[in-house]
Symmetry: C2
Subunit: 244 residues, 2 copies
Amino acid sequence: MVQSGDDLATSISEALTAEKIKIMDGDVIVVSQKVISKAEGLLVDISTIKPSTKAKLLSKRTRKDSRLIELILRDSPQLIRADRKALIVRRKNGSICLNAGVDKSNVKGRNIYSRLPADADDTADELRLGLEELSGCRLGVIIGDTYSRPFRVGQAEFAIGVSGIEPVIDYRGLKDLYGYKLRFKSVALADEIAAAAELVIGQGAERIPVAIIRGLTRLNPSDKHGLSKKLLLGRRIDLFKDMI
Amino acid sequence: MVQSGDDLATSISEALTAEKIKIMDGDVIVVSQKVISKAEGLLVDISTIKPSTKAKLLSKRTRKDSRLIELILRDSPQLIRADRKALIVRRKNGSICLNAGVDKSNVKGRNIYSRLPADADDTADELRLGLEELSGCRLGVIIGDTYSRPFRVGQAEFAIGVSGIEPVIDYRGLKDLYGYKLRFKSVALADEIAAAAELVIGQGAERIPVAIIRGLTRLNPSDKHGLSKKLLLGRRIDLFKDMI
Protein backbone atom coordinates (compact mmCIF):
# COMPACT_ATOMS: atom_id res chain seq x y z
CA MET A 1 0.00 0.00 0.00
CA VAL A 2 1.49 3.28 -1.18
CA GLN A 3 1.57 6.24 1.27
CA SER A 4 1.87 9.97 0.71
CA GLY A 5 5.51 10.92 0.20
CA ASP A 6 6.63 7.45 -0.90
CA ASP A 7 9.32 7.45 -3.55
CA LEU A 8 7.65 5.30 -6.18
CA ALA A 9 10.83 4.48 -8.11
CA THR A 10 12.32 2.99 -4.94
CA SER A 11 9.07 1.22 -3.95
CA ILE A 12 8.71 -0.32 -7.41
CA SER A 13 12.37 -1.38 -7.49
CA GLU A 14 12.04 -3.02 -4.08
CA ALA A 15 8.83 -4.80 -5.08
CA LEU A 16 10.52 -6.10 -8.24
CA THR A 17 13.51 -7.37 -6.27
CA ALA A 18 11.16 -9.11 -3.81
CA GLU A 19 9.36 -10.75 -6.77
CA LYS A 20 12.69 -11.62 -8.42
CA ILE A 21 11.77 -9.65 -11.55
CA LYS A 22 14.58 -7.84 -13.34
CA ILE A 23 13.82 -4.75 -15.40
CA MET A 24 15.24 -4.90 -18.93
CA ASP A 25 16.17 -2.37 -21.60
CA GLY A 26 13.07 -1.33 -23.55
CA ASP A 27 10.59 -2.30 -20.83
CA VAL A 28 7.58 -0.04 -20.46
CA ILE A 29 6.50 0.36 -16.84
CA VAL A 30 2.80 1.15 -16.54
CA VAL A 31 1.61 2.57 -13.24
CA SER A 32 -1.97 3.08 -12.20
CA GLN A 33 -2.97 6.71 -11.55
CA LYS A 34 -4.37 5.88 -8.14
CA VAL A 35 -0.99 4.99 -6.59
CA ILE A 36 0.54 8.09 -8.16
CA SER A 37 -2.15 10.22 -6.51
CA LYS A 38 -1.53 8.45 -3.19
CA ALA A 39 2.26 8.89 -3.41
CA GLU A 40 1.86 12.57 -4.35
CA GLY A 41 -0.48 13.20 -1.42
CA LEU A 42 -3.43 14.03 -3.66
CA LEU A 43 -6.07 12.55 -1.36
CA VAL A 44 -8.44 15.23 -0.15
CA ASP A 45 -10.91 15.15 2.73
CA ILE A 46 -13.86 17.01 1.25
CA SER A 47 -15.27 17.76 4.71
CA THR A 48 -12.47 20.36 4.95
CA ILE A 49 -13.65 22.13 1.79
CA LYS A 50 -15.82 25.25 1.78
CA PRO A 51 -17.84 25.19 -1.44
CA SER A 52 -18.07 28.34 -3.55
CA THR A 53 -21.35 29.79 -4.79
CA LYS A 54 -20.69 28.25 -8.19
CA ALA A 55 -20.11 24.83 -6.63
CA LYS A 56 -23.36 25.14 -4.65
CA LEU A 57 -25.26 26.03 -7.81
CA LEU A 58 -23.75 23.12 -9.71
CA SER A 59 -24.46 20.84 -6.78
CA LYS A 60 -28.20 21.46 -7.25
CA ARG A 61 -27.94 20.86 -10.98
CA THR A 62 -25.88 17.67 -10.75
CA ARG A 63 -27.13 16.32 -7.38
CA LYS A 64 -23.52 15.89 -6.30
CA ASP A 65 -22.00 17.03 -2.99
CA SER A 66 -21.10 20.74 -3.32
CA ARG A 67 -17.71 20.12 -1.64
CA LEU A 68 -16.92 17.42 -4.18
CA ILE A 69 -17.93 19.83 -6.97
CA GLU A 70 -15.64 22.48 -5.50
CA LEU A 71 -12.75 20.01 -5.59
CA ILE A 72 -13.54 19.10 -9.20
CA LEU A 73 -13.75 22.78 -10.21
CA ARG A 74 -10.23 23.41 -8.87
CA ASP A 75 -8.87 21.05 -11.55
CA SER A 76 -11.24 22.17 -14.32
CA PRO A 77 -10.74 25.37 -16.30
CA GLN A 78 -13.70 24.45 -18.52
CA LEU A 79 -17.06 22.94 -17.71
CA ILE A 80 -18.47 20.92 -20.59
CA ARG A 81 -21.53 19.15 -19.22
CA ALA A 82 -23.14 19.50 -15.83
CA ASP A 83 -26.46 17.82 -15.15
CA ARG A 84 -27.88 14.91 -13.19
CA LYS A 85 -26.28 12.38 -15.51
CA ALA A 86 -22.72 13.64 -15.77
CA LEU A 87 -20.20 16.28 -14.87
CA ILE A 88 -17.75 16.49 -17.75
CA VAL A 89 -14.87 18.95 -17.76
CA ARG A 90 -11.74 19.88 -19.62
CA ARG A 91 -8.67 19.71 -17.39
CA LYS A 92 -5.72 22.09 -17.59
CA ASN A 93 -3.79 19.74 -19.87
CA GLY A 94 -6.72 19.75 -22.33
CA SER A 95 -8.06 16.28 -21.60
CA ILE A 96 -11.82 15.84 -21.34
CA CYS A 97 -13.09 13.60 -18.58
CA LEU A 98 -15.80 12.87 -16.06
CA ASN A 99 -15.45 14.63 -12.68
CA ALA A 100 -11.94 15.88 -13.61
CA GLY A 101 -10.75 12.40 -12.65
CA VAL A 102 -11.62 13.05 -8.99
CA ASP A 103 -12.49 9.58 -7.73
CA LYS A 104 -13.59 7.71 -4.62
CA SER A 105 -12.64 4.12 -5.43
CA ASN A 106 -9.84 2.41 -3.49
CA VAL A 107 -9.33 5.43 -1.28
CA LYS A 108 -9.70 4.98 2.48
CA GLY A 109 -12.14 7.15 4.41
CA ARG A 110 -15.73 8.15 3.76
CA ASN A 111 -14.99 11.73 2.70
CA ILE A 112 -11.64 11.13 1.04
CA TYR A 113 -11.31 11.52 -2.73
CA SER A 114 -8.25 11.32 -4.95
CA ARG A 115 -7.26 14.02 -7.45
CA LEU A 116 -5.21 13.42 -10.55
CA PRO A 117 -1.54 14.49 -10.58
CA ALA A 118 -1.21 18.12 -11.69
CA ASP A 119 1.03 17.09 -14.58
CA ALA A 120 1.18 13.33 -15.11
CA ASP A 121 3.95 13.74 -17.72
CA ASP A 122 6.20 15.37 -15.11
CA THR A 123 5.38 12.50 -12.76
CA ALA A 124 6.16 9.97 -15.49
CA ASP A 125 9.47 11.73 -16.31
CA GLU A 126 10.54 11.71 -12.67
CA LEU A 127 9.57 8.07 -12.20
CA ARG A 128 11.39 7.05 -15.38
CA LEU A 129 14.60 8.84 -14.40
CA GLY A 130 14.44 7.22 -10.95
CA LEU A 131 13.83 3.74 -12.34
CA GLU A 132 16.48 4.16 -15.05
CA GLU A 133 19.03 5.20 -12.44
CA LEU A 134 18.16 2.28 -10.16
CA SER A 135 18.09 -0.30 -12.98
CA GLY A 136 20.65 1.04 -15.45
CA CYS A 137 18.12 0.36 -18.24
CA ARG A 138 16.50 2.58 -20.87
CA LEU A 139 12.77 2.55 -20.07
CA GLY A 140 9.39 3.93 -20.94
CA VAL A 141 6.90 4.93 -18.25
CA ILE A 142 3.16 5.30 -18.73
CA ILE A 143 0.64 6.44 -16.15
CA GLY A 144 -2.71 4.85 -16.92
CA ASP A 145 -6.17 6.00 -15.94
CA THR A 146 -9.60 4.54 -16.57
CA TYR A 147 -11.79 6.60 -18.90
CA SER A 148 -15.37 6.52 -20.05
CA ARG A 149 -15.55 6.84 -23.81
CA PRO A 150 -17.99 8.18 -26.38
CA PHE A 151 -19.79 5.50 -28.46
CA ARG A 152 -18.53 2.52 -26.43
CA VAL A 153 -19.87 0.79 -23.33
CA GLY A 154 -17.47 0.31 -20.44
CA GLN A 155 -14.34 2.14 -19.48
CA ALA A 156 -10.86 1.57 -20.84
CA GLU A 157 -7.40 2.56 -19.72
CA PHE A 158 -5.76 5.55 -21.43
CA ALA A 159 -2.25 6.93 -21.04
CA ILE A 160 -2.49 10.19 -19.04
CA GLY A 161 1.27 10.48 -18.48
CA VAL A 162 4.01 9.32 -20.84
CA SER A 163 7.80 9.40 -20.59
CA GLY A 164 10.61 7.90 -22.66
CA ILE A 165 8.60 6.70 -25.66
CA GLU A 166 6.63 8.35 -28.44
CA PRO A 167 2.94 7.80 -27.58
CA VAL A 168 1.77 7.64 -31.21
CA ILE A 169 3.26 5.75 -34.15
CA ASP A 170 2.66 7.52 -37.42
CA TYR A 171 2.35 5.16 -40.37
CA ARG A 172 1.42 7.86 -42.88
CA GLY A 173 3.68 7.71 -45.91
CA LEU A 174 4.88 4.20 -45.09
CA LYS A 175 3.95 1.33 -47.38
CA ASP A 176 1.69 -1.63 -46.67
CA LEU A 177 2.21 -5.28 -47.65
CA TYR A 178 1.57 -4.47 -51.31
CA GLY A 179 3.44 -1.18 -51.59
CA TYR A 180 0.32 0.96 -51.16
CA LYS A 181 1.20 4.16 -49.33
CA LEU A 182 -0.76 4.51 -46.09
CA ARG A 183 -2.50 7.86 -45.93
CA PHE A 184 -4.32 7.93 -42.61
CA LYS A 185 -2.95 5.38 -40.24
CA SER A 186 -1.43 6.34 -36.93
CA VAL A 187 -1.64 4.15 -33.85
CA ALA A 188 -2.09 5.37 -30.27
CA LEU A 189 0.47 2.93 -28.95
CA ALA A 190 0.57 4.43 -25.44
CA ASP A 191 -3.19 4.01 -25.01
CA GLU A 192 -2.95 0.41 -26.21
CA ILE A 193 -0.09 -0.26 -23.80
CA ALA A 194 -2.15 1.25 -20.96
CA ALA A 195 -5.11 -0.96 -21.96
CA ALA A 196 -2.90 -4.06 -22.07
CA ALA A 197 -1.57 -3.21 -18.61
CA GLU A 198 -5.08 -2.82 -17.20
CA LEU A 199 -5.72 -6.47 -18.08
CA VAL A 200 -3.15 -7.33 -15.40
CA ILE A 201 -3.55 -4.38 -13.02
CA GLY A 202 -7.33 -4.53 -12.77
CA GLN A 203 -9.43 -2.07 -10.84
CA GLY A 204 -7.85 -2.05 -7.41
CA ALA A 205 -9.03 -5.04 -5.42
CA GLU A 206 -6.29 -7.03 -7.16
CA ARG A 207 -3.68 -4.82 -5.41
CA ILE A 208 -1.45 -4.78 -8.48
CA PRO A 209 -0.61 -1.14 -9.27
CA VAL A 210 2.22 -1.74 -11.76
CA ALA A 211 2.65 -3.80 -14.93
CA ILE A 212 5.69 -4.32 -17.14
CA ILE A 213 5.19 -4.48 -20.90
CA ARG A 214 8.18 -6.23 -22.45
CA GLY A 215 9.28 -7.15 -25.95
CA LEU A 216 7.49 -4.44 -27.92
CA THR A 217 9.32 -3.99 -31.20
CA ARG A 218 7.52 -0.82 -32.26
CA LEU A 219 8.73 1.58 -29.56
CA ASN A 220 10.28 4.87 -30.61
CA PRO A 221 12.35 6.33 -27.76
CA SER A 222 11.89 10.00 -26.92
CA ASP A 223 13.40 12.30 -24.31
CA LYS A 224 10.84 15.04 -24.81
CA HIS A 225 8.64 16.34 -21.99
CA GLY A 226 4.86 16.53 -22.06
CA LEU A 227 4.46 13.50 -24.32
CA SER A 228 0.89 12.61 -23.29
CA LYS A 229 -0.30 15.86 -24.90
CA LYS A 230 0.39 14.25 -28.28
CA LEU A 231 -2.59 12.00 -27.58
CA LEU A 232 -5.05 14.86 -27.14
CA LEU A 233 -7.02 15.80 -30.23
CA GLY A 234 -8.01 19.44 -30.56
CA ARG A 235 -11.75 20.02 -30.98
CA ARG A 236 -11.15 21.82 -34.27
CA ILE A 237 -9.70 18.74 -35.94
CA ASP A 238 -11.75 16.07 -34.17
CA LEU A 239 -13.53 14.19 -36.97
CA PHE A 240 -16.30 13.21 -34.57
CA LYS A 241 -17.02 16.80 -33.55
CA ASP A 242 -20.79 17.34 -33.20
CA MET A 243 -21.38 13.73 -34.26
CA ILE A 244 -22.24 11.79 -31.15
CA MET B 1 -1.35 -15.11 -46.68
CA VAL B 2 -5.05 -15.87 -46.27
CA GLN B 3 -7.15 -16.47 -49.39
CA SER B 4 -10.89 -16.26 -50.03
CA GLY B 5 -12.58 -19.45 -48.86
CA ASP B 6 -9.83 -20.42 -46.41
CA ASP B 7 -11.06 -22.13 -43.27
CA LEU B 8 -9.47 -19.87 -40.67
CA ALA B 9 -9.82 -22.32 -37.77
CA THR B 10 -7.80 -24.87 -39.72
CA SER B 11 -5.27 -22.28 -40.96
CA ILE B 12 -4.73 -20.96 -37.43
CA SER B 13 -4.41 -24.49 -35.99
CA GLU B 14 -1.84 -25.42 -38.63
CA ALA B 15 0.13 -22.22 -38.04
CA LEU B 16 0.14 -22.89 -34.29
CA THR B 17 1.37 -26.46 -34.82
CA ALA B 18 4.11 -25.19 -37.13
CA GLU B 19 5.15 -22.68 -34.45
CA LYS B 20 4.89 -25.38 -31.73
CA ILE B 21 2.32 -23.31 -29.82
CA LYS B 22 -0.39 -25.22 -27.99
CA ILE B 23 -3.76 -23.58 -27.35
CA MET B 24 -4.86 -23.78 -23.71
CA ASP B 25 -8.17 -23.55 -21.86
CA GLY B 26 -9.13 -19.93 -21.31
CA ASP B 27 -7.00 -18.56 -24.14
CA VAL B 28 -8.46 -15.65 -26.04
CA ILE B 29 -7.63 -15.76 -29.75
CA VAL B 30 -7.61 -12.31 -31.31
CA VAL B 31 -7.80 -12.15 -35.10
CA SER B 32 -7.32 -9.05 -37.21
CA GLN B 33 -10.38 -8.00 -39.23
CA LYS B 34 -8.39 -7.87 -42.46
CA VAL B 35 -7.73 -11.63 -42.62
CA ILE B 36 -11.38 -12.30 -41.77
CA SER B 37 -12.43 -10.13 -44.71
CA LYS B 38 -9.94 -11.93 -46.96
CA ALA B 39 -11.11 -15.40 -45.86
CA GLU B 40 -14.76 -14.42 -46.31
CA GLY B 41 -14.12 -13.09 -49.81
CA LEU B 42 -14.98 -9.52 -48.89
CA LEU B 43 -12.45 -7.91 -51.22
CA VAL B 44 -14.21 -5.81 -53.84
CA ASP B 45 -12.86 -4.44 -57.12
CA ILE B 46 -14.49 -1.00 -57.21
CA SER B 47 -13.95 -0.75 -60.97
CA THR B 48 -16.86 -3.25 -61.27
CA ILE B 49 -19.21 -0.96 -59.32
CA LYS B 50 -21.75 1.37 -60.93
CA PRO B 51 -22.26 4.30 -58.57
CA SER B 52 -25.77 5.48 -57.75
CA THR B 53 -26.86 9.12 -58.04
CA LYS B 54 -26.51 9.46 -54.26
CA ALA B 55 -22.96 8.11 -54.41
CA LYS B 56 -22.09 10.55 -57.19
CA LEU B 57 -23.47 13.45 -55.17
CA LEU B 58 -21.54 12.39 -52.07
CA SER B 59 -18.45 11.91 -54.20
CA LYS B 60 -18.47 15.63 -55.00
CA ARG B 61 -19.03 16.54 -51.38
CA THR B 62 -16.32 14.26 -49.99
CA ARG B 63 -13.86 14.23 -52.93
CA LYS B 64 -13.78 10.44 -52.76
CA ASP B 65 -14.23 8.04 -55.68
CA SER B 66 -17.97 7.61 -56.34
CA ARG B 67 -17.54 3.83 -56.71
CA LEU B 68 -15.86 3.66 -53.30
CA ILE B 69 -18.72 5.73 -51.86
CA GLU B 70 -21.23 3.32 -53.40
CA LEU B 71 -19.45 0.41 -51.69
CA ILE B 72 -19.47 2.26 -48.36
CA LEU B 73 -23.18 3.09 -48.70
CA ARG B 74 -24.03 -0.61 -49.12
CA ASP B 75 -22.83 -1.22 -45.57
CA SER B 76 -24.24 1.99 -44.09
CA PRO B 77 -27.91 2.45 -43.21
CA GLN B 78 -27.13 5.89 -41.72
CA LEU B 79 -24.85 8.66 -42.91
CA ILE B 80 -23.50 10.75 -40.04
CA ARG B 81 -20.89 13.03 -41.57
CA ALA B 82 -19.98 13.48 -45.21
CA ASP B 83 -17.61 16.25 -46.22
CA ARG B 84 -14.04 16.70 -47.44
CA LYS B 85 -12.61 15.73 -44.08
CA ALA B 86 -14.51 12.58 -43.25
CA LEU B 87 -17.22 10.13 -44.21
CA ILE B 88 -18.65 8.77 -40.97
CA VAL B 89 -21.52 6.28 -40.97
CA ARG B 90 -23.49 4.01 -38.70
CA ARG B 91 -23.25 0.38 -39.80
CA LYS B 92 -26.09 -2.13 -39.56
CA ASN B 93 -24.87 -3.41 -36.20
CA GLY B 94 -25.04 0.14 -34.81
CA SER B 95 -21.33 0.87 -34.72
CA ILE B 96 -20.15 4.29 -35.86
CA CYS B 97 -17.02 4.41 -37.97
CA LEU B 98 -15.13 6.09 -40.78
CA ASN B 99 -15.89 4.82 -44.30
CA ALA B 100 -17.97 1.92 -42.91
CA GLY B 101 -14.67 0.17 -42.30
CA VAL B 102 -14.07 -0.14 -46.06
CA ASP B 103 -10.29 -0.04 -46.32
CA LYS B 104 -7.47 -0.16 -48.81
CA SER B 105 -4.47 -1.11 -46.67
CA ASN B 106 -2.83 -4.52 -47.07
CA VAL B 107 -5.14 -5.47 -49.91
CA LYS B 108 -3.59 -6.37 -53.26
CA GLY B 109 -4.64 -4.51 -56.41
CA ARG B 110 -5.08 -0.83 -57.14
CA ASN B 111 -8.89 -0.88 -57.13
CA ILE B 112 -9.43 -3.53 -54.49
CA TYR B 113 -10.91 -2.59 -51.12
CA SER B 114 -11.91 -4.78 -48.19
CA ARG B 115 -15.35 -4.67 -46.54
CA LEU B 116 -16.03 -5.66 -42.97
CA PRO B 117 -17.71 -9.00 -42.26
CA ALA B 118 -21.51 -8.65 -42.34
CA ASP B 119 -21.76 -9.91 -38.75
CA ALA B 120 -18.41 -10.19 -37.02
CA ASP B 121 -20.02 -11.92 -34.01
CA ASP B 122 -21.21 -14.74 -36.26
CA THR B 123 -17.71 -14.98 -37.70
CA ALA B 124 -16.25 -15.06 -34.19
CA ASP B 125 -18.73 -17.76 -33.10
CA GLU B 126 -17.87 -19.95 -36.08
CA LEU B 127 -14.14 -19.50 -35.58
CA ARG B 128 -14.41 -20.26 -31.87
CA LEU B 129 -16.41 -23.46 -32.44
CA GLY B 130 -13.88 -24.56 -35.07
CA LEU B 131 -10.88 -23.84 -32.86
CA GLU B 132 -12.52 -25.43 -29.81
CA GLU B 133 -13.23 -28.59 -31.79
CA LEU B 134 -9.68 -28.74 -33.14
CA SER B 135 -8.04 -27.99 -29.78
CA GLY B 136 -10.46 -29.49 -27.27
CA CYS B 137 -10.14 -26.27 -25.25
CA ARG B 138 -12.68 -23.69 -24.03
CA LEU B 139 -11.75 -20.44 -25.78
CA GLY B 140 -12.67 -16.86 -26.39
CA VAL B 141 -12.41 -15.29 -29.85
CA ILE B 142 -12.21 -11.58 -30.58
CA ILE B 143 -12.08 -9.95 -33.99
CA GLY B 144 -10.20 -6.67 -33.72
CA ASP B 145 -10.39 -3.63 -35.96
CA THR B 146 -8.55 -0.32 -35.89
CA TYR B 147 -10.76 2.67 -35.05
CA SER B 148 -10.36 6.41 -35.01
CA ARG B 149 -11.68 7.84 -31.77
CA PRO B 150 -13.21 11.07 -30.54
CA PHE B 151 -10.95 13.22 -28.31
CA ARG B 152 -7.79 11.12 -28.83
CA VAL B 153 -5.05 11.23 -31.45
CA GLY B 154 -4.22 7.98 -33.23
CA GLN B 155 -6.25 4.88 -33.80
CA ALA B 156 -6.73 2.00 -31.41
CA GLU B 157 -7.98 -1.55 -31.77
CA PHE B 158 -11.58 -2.28 -30.74
CA ALA B 159 -13.41 -5.59 -30.55
CA ILE B 160 -15.87 -5.74 -33.47
CA GLY B 161 -16.67 -9.43 -33.03
CA VAL B 162 -16.75 -11.36 -29.74
CA SER B 163 -17.45 -14.99 -28.93
CA GLY B 164 -17.12 -17.09 -25.79
CA ILE B 165 -16.49 -14.33 -23.25
CA GLU B 166 -18.44 -11.42 -21.84
CA PRO B 167 -17.01 -8.27 -23.46
CA VAL B 168 -17.69 -6.02 -20.46
CA ILE B 169 -16.99 -6.62 -16.76
CA ASP B 170 -19.48 -4.85 -14.57
CA TYR B 171 -18.03 -3.81 -11.22
CA ARG B 172 -21.10 -1.89 -10.09
CA GLY B 173 -22.23 -3.02 -6.67
CA LEU B 174 -18.91 -4.73 -5.94
CA LYS B 175 -16.66 -3.35 -3.23
CA ASP B 176 -13.28 -1.73 -3.54
CA LEU B 177 -10.21 -2.21 -1.30
CA TYR B 178 -11.89 -0.35 1.55
CA GLY B 179 -15.41 -1.73 1.26
CA TYR B 180 -16.73 1.26 -0.70
CA LYS B 181 -19.39 0.09 -3.13
CA LEU B 182 -18.43 0.92 -6.74
CA ARG B 183 -21.23 2.82 -8.46
CA PHE B 184 -20.04 3.43 -11.99
CA LYS B 185 -17.20 1.16 -12.91
CA SER B 186 -17.46 -1.28 -15.79
CA VAL B 187 -14.51 -2.25 -17.92
CA ALA B 188 -14.57 -2.88 -21.68
CA LEU B 189 -12.37 -5.93 -21.34
CA ALA B 190 -12.81 -7.03 -24.96
CA ASP B 191 -11.60 -3.65 -26.27
CA GLU B 192 -8.60 -3.81 -23.95
CA ILE B 193 -7.82 -7.34 -25.13
CA ALA B 194 -8.04 -6.19 -28.75
CA ALA B 195 -5.70 -3.28 -27.96
CA ALA B 196 -3.22 -5.58 -26.23
CA ALA B 197 -3.28 -7.90 -29.26
CA GLU B 198 -2.61 -5.00 -31.65
CA LEU B 199 0.70 -4.44 -29.84
CA VAL B 200 1.78 -7.79 -31.27
CA ILE B 201 -0.25 -7.94 -34.48
CA GLY B 202 0.65 -4.47 -35.72
CA GLN B 203 -0.75 -2.91 -38.86
CA GLY B 204 -0.08 -5.49 -41.53
CA ALA B 205 3.50 -5.30 -42.68
CA GLU B 206 4.39 -7.48 -39.67
CA ARG B 207 2.34 -10.33 -41.25
CA ILE B 208 1.01 -11.42 -37.86
CA PRO B 209 -2.79 -11.65 -38.10
CA VAL B 210 -3.44 -13.57 -34.86
CA ALA B 211 -2.46 -13.13 -31.21
CA ILE B 212 -3.15 -15.31 -28.19
CA ILE B 213 -3.95 -13.62 -24.88
CA ARG B 214 -3.30 -16.08 -22.07
CA GLY B 215 -3.65 -16.09 -18.31
CA LEU B 216 -6.41 -13.51 -17.91
CA THR B 217 -8.09 -14.13 -14.59
CA ARG B 218 -11.05 -11.82 -15.13
CA LEU B 219 -12.76 -13.63 -18.04
CA ASN B 220 -16.44 -14.47 -17.72
CA PRO B 221 -17.41 -17.21 -20.19
CA SER B 222 -20.54 -16.73 -22.28
CA ASP B 223 -22.24 -18.81 -24.94
CA LYS B 224 -24.49 -15.99 -26.12
CA HIS B 225 -24.53 -14.73 -29.69
CA GLY B 226 -24.04 -11.13 -30.74
CA LEU B 227 -21.75 -10.28 -27.83
CA SER B 228 -19.98 -7.34 -29.49
CA LYS B 229 -23.26 -5.40 -29.41
CA LYS B 230 -22.83 -5.10 -25.65
CA LEU B 231 -19.95 -2.71 -26.38
CA LEU B 232 -22.07 -0.29 -28.40
CA LEU B 233 -23.48 2.64 -26.47
CA GLY B 234 -26.85 3.98 -27.62
CA ARG B 235 -26.81 7.67 -28.48
CA ARG B 236 -29.53 8.36 -25.93
CA ILE B 237 -27.38 7.27 -23.01
CA ASP B 238 -24.00 8.42 -24.32
CA LEU B 239 -22.68 10.83 -21.67
CA PHE B 240 -20.58 12.58 -24.32
CA LYS B 241 -23.54 13.22 -26.60
CA ASP B 242 -23.24 16.72 -28.13
CA MET B 243 -20.05 17.31 -26.14
CA ILE B 244 -17.19 16.94 -28.57
